[in-house]
Every structure is written in C-alpha cells, then in structure tokens.
Symmetry: C2
Subunit: 258 residues, 2 copies
DNA sequence: CGTTCTGTTGACCACGTTCAATCAGTGTGG
DNA sequence: CCACACTGATTGAACGTGGTCAACAGAACG
C-alpha cells in the first residue's frame, strides 16, 4: 500500500522504431492476420515507439488517454484501486498485449496501467482508433478476439478470488503466467520462466495480503510443486499443480497457439 | 449448491420473429449502428428466434456451442464452477447482451450460461460468425465495444470480490443492476426495478454465501439505503449508496446512453 | 393443506488480516 | 571496505470477517 509508481519523464522515443512488417511481436499482437501488403499503411496509425523505465504510469485511473499501446516488450499491470488504498491487479500485460481499449474511448479510464519492468511500447492515437478499425475489419475482429481472451483471463481470476482458497489461487496464477510466458519465449520447463513479481504484487492479483502470499508460497514449495530462484519461477509438477488449481490451459490460451 | 438448472426441451421457436429493422432491442445490441439499408441482409445471419423457460441451460461449461445469442428479453447468468460445487457468477446478462463470444469460437466454452427467467433469444450460427464480422466492420467494432463493456463490468466485480468487504460489494451490485435496468426500461427511481434474484444468486455473484448475503442485506435495509418488496429493488439513497460502494456509473455505462 | 424453496437466526469455527518485529539482500555513501 | 539505509520476505500473536452447519420460519405452489 505504499506508492507504487514514480512520475518520471525518462521516456525515450525510439529513433528507429520496429517496422510492423518485420516485427516479431506482430504474430501475437493487434496486427496479427493483417495481410503483408497492408502493413505499411496500417503502420501509419502508429504514432511512435517508446522505451519506458519500470514503474512508469501509462494510464492513470480516472483520466483520459491520448494513446493506446501495444506492449512490445516488458511487464505491465492493469489495476484498480479502492479509496482505502487497496489495489486489485486485473491482469498482467505481456509482450503483444494491447492496452487501453474500452467501450468509450473518450471516457475516463476505468483502470490504471503501470509498467513493472522497463518496457517498449507502440503508441496509437486514440483519436484515430475508430478510423483504423473501420478501415480494416481484420483488425477490428482481432481486437474483439484479443479482448475476449483478456476477458477469459479476468473471469478465471474472478472465479479464483470469489470461490477458491489461497493455495489454489496462487497455484492458478503461477500456471497462467507460466503458460503465457512459455508461449512468448518458448524454452523448456526445466528453465523456468522469468518472474519479476514481488509478493505484494502477487497478492494484489489474487486478493491476498503479501503476508499471506508468503505463507502460502512456502506451502507450495514444501509440497514440491514450485521453486523460485533468481527471479525465475519453476513449476516442478505440472500435473499436480493443474489438479490443485483446476487449471484448464485451453480457456486462456491464445487461439491458434495451442 | 443444489442443482441450478433443469434440462427441459420446452424451447419454443418464434413463428414470427422480430424483424431487426423494427427491433426495439437493436439500439443496445450487436446490430446497433448498422445502417438501415443493410439490416435486411444482416438479419440473414440470425438463424432463429426462441423463447425459453427459466433455468434453461444455454451453454454448458466445457462444451462447444453451435449458436451464439442475442438476449432479446429476460435475465441470464454467465458463471463458472469449481469442482467442489461452488459457483461464481461472472455477470448478469440482460436485454441486448450478446452471449457466447470467445477468442476461439471452436473451443470449449470457458463458462456456462443459464436463464434465470423466461427469455427470448436470437440465435446466430457459430459457423458464420467470422463471415458476419468480416462482412461488416461496424458489427466487428460493435462486438469489440460490447465486450469491452462486459470486461469493465467483470473488472469492477473482481475489484469488489478481491478488495472490498461484504457490505460494499452488495451495495455495488445493487447499484450496477439498478443502473443497467434503468437504462433498459427507464422509469422513475421511486418505482424501483425488477429484481428476480435469490440471495444465493446474489452471493454467487459477489463471492459470499447466501447466509452472509442475508445478514448483509439486513444491514443495508436498516441503514435506510435499500428496500426490497415484491421482487423489486428500491435504492432509497443513491448518494450514500454510491459513496459506500465507490460506484462510478460512467465506468460500466453503455457509451452513448449516459 | 402438505411440500418445496427461500430466507432468517444462532453458535462455532477457520481462513486470512493486521500489526509488529526481525531477517536477508542490495545498493549507497563515507 | 564497511556502515547504513532501504526494500522485500519471513515469522509470530491476536483478531475479525465471513463460512459452516443446523434448526426454523415464511412464502409459493401444487
């Protein structure tokens, strides 16, 4: 419940931004499925590419947004807060995720978004969003598809938070992030995955206090289910973990990648 | 935790289905914004219109869906369950809501949907969804917009469930439903709104037991904040309720209707 | 009327919170 | 290089919100 962000202006505009046609992230981002021939002029809707430090506020809860973003690289959190200072993290955003879309783009943001690690972002002016979607039904469909996936993730969190005890919730979050990161970076299970979260952030995502996350994490470790070392997370027993968390990979999977 | 649904086949296909061009529900449904001229052939994507009784299962969790639906009239719940029998209601669906869209339409449904009251539905074949969206970018945009709104609602529930005590959660749910129903049916606050929910359903939506809903509801009544009578809900003090629940109407409002 | 479903009330309990002290790791400056 | 500060993780004790279980009361419905 301390301050989670620092207003700093160390945002660096990339001088040689990634070209969409050559972008490795594109296959999981908004322009997935856009025909090669159209990429050059679709790219015109992107205003710029930025690098931000960790703990940089992209959207402030309740303010309006000038740009929407594709998260090119890094971790960010989408969260809401209560007046007593408590925070609920809605979702962890990873490479490829689209940030800031809401039903009424001109309205105040219903949530805040903050980077957890240094991030690279592609910025799209809010004012041109509907023009962009109307120009290309594929992009509009893709946006609907992406949001449907984010919804599925949000719903699993709601189920966990509303109806599962601490251990199950934590196991579920680990499996979810593990799967999403594996989809991004591939690799072997024995490598574990990058895991920059503090226990307070974990707790804010699954509706627990940092203290109780600490205790619950120890249980998972003692059960031989997970291991954490050097900012990496290792799932030691996928099967038992999935059973414990009632985790169904297909529900939150990116369609076409599993 | 009893059985919530009854498999019955008393589903009646409307012989003279509402024509989209004349449909009063359209202004808040998927075809909102579709030019008059296109409505007749867009209507061809609708397979049929049905009437179902209460407690009829539209989607079963984990099965695939043949049709997606516009809920024309009535109440339905979108929910997920845990193996121990506990249920979490994700959202209450009301007139105009679109049911069943997910990132991968061919995949198993990540949630179940069941009617609470008798309902009227417009059915769209799943197999023609992407064709329909591609044919009309407006509809694809509208779908993205609707889902963004559903996401906003889901997120407020996640915040409530994760970070607010019982009284605030209950107040929030009441305000949300009150506002949505007012948008649908208009009328004066002194009339209250239709409210067919049992306390068990309320609890399943905000992560409480029916027992604790009962106790918490009594508190709200004793505080002079709400009144319930004859399956209707009355908000007696909007201002104090909004303050208690930290309810911001604009976050979940249908854009263009507030 | 009986039956069934929904809501109410009470007693007890447990999961997770709160608060506080301590510890470990990591920079930072003298 | 070490002292110091700062952040995040751990541990313990006391507490409280909400769950569980069970009995009962009304309402709805055949």
């Amino acid at each position: 419940m301390a301050r989670h962000t620092e207003r700093n202006n160390i945002v660096h505009r990339c001088q040689q931004p990634t070209r969409c046609a050559e972008c490795e992230v594109r296959r999981r981002a908004l322009f997935r499925g856009v025909p090669e021939a159209q990429l050059n002029w679709m790219q015109e809707y992107r205003h710029a590419q930025f690098d931000t430090p960790a703990r940089h506020e992209l959207f402030r809860e309740g303010e309006t947004a000038e740009y929407l973003y594709t998260l090119h690289a890094g971790w960010a959190i989408i969260y809401k807060t209560v007046s007593n200072g408590k925070r609920q993290i809605m979702r962890f955003a990873l490479s490829g995720d689209f940030l800031g879309f809401q039903a009424d783009l001109a309205a105040r943001m219903g949530y805040g978004v903050t980077t957890l690690t240094p991030c690279r972002l592609c910025a799209f002016p809010r004012s041109r969003m509907s023009e962009m979607l109307e120009a290309n039904a594929r992009v509009a469909m893709r946006l609907a598809e992406m949001n449907a996936r984010y919804m599925a993730i949000c719903q699993t969190h709601l189920l966990c938070t509303g109806r599962k005890p601490a251990k199950e919730r934590l196991a579920f979050l680990f499996l979810e992030l593990h799967q999403r990161l594996r989809q991004l970076h591939g690799g072997d299970d024995s490598d574990g995955v990058e895991f920059p979260l503090a226990q307070e952030e974990i707790g804010d995502a699954i509706g627990l206090t940092n203290v109780h996350v600490s205790r619950t994490l120890q249980e998972l470790k003692q059960d031989g289910l997970v291991r954490m070392a050097g900012k990496r997370l290792y799932i030691l027993d996928q099967q038992r973990m999935r059973q414990l968390a009632e985790f169904d990979p297909s529900v939150i999977a990116e369609s076409g990648y599993i």
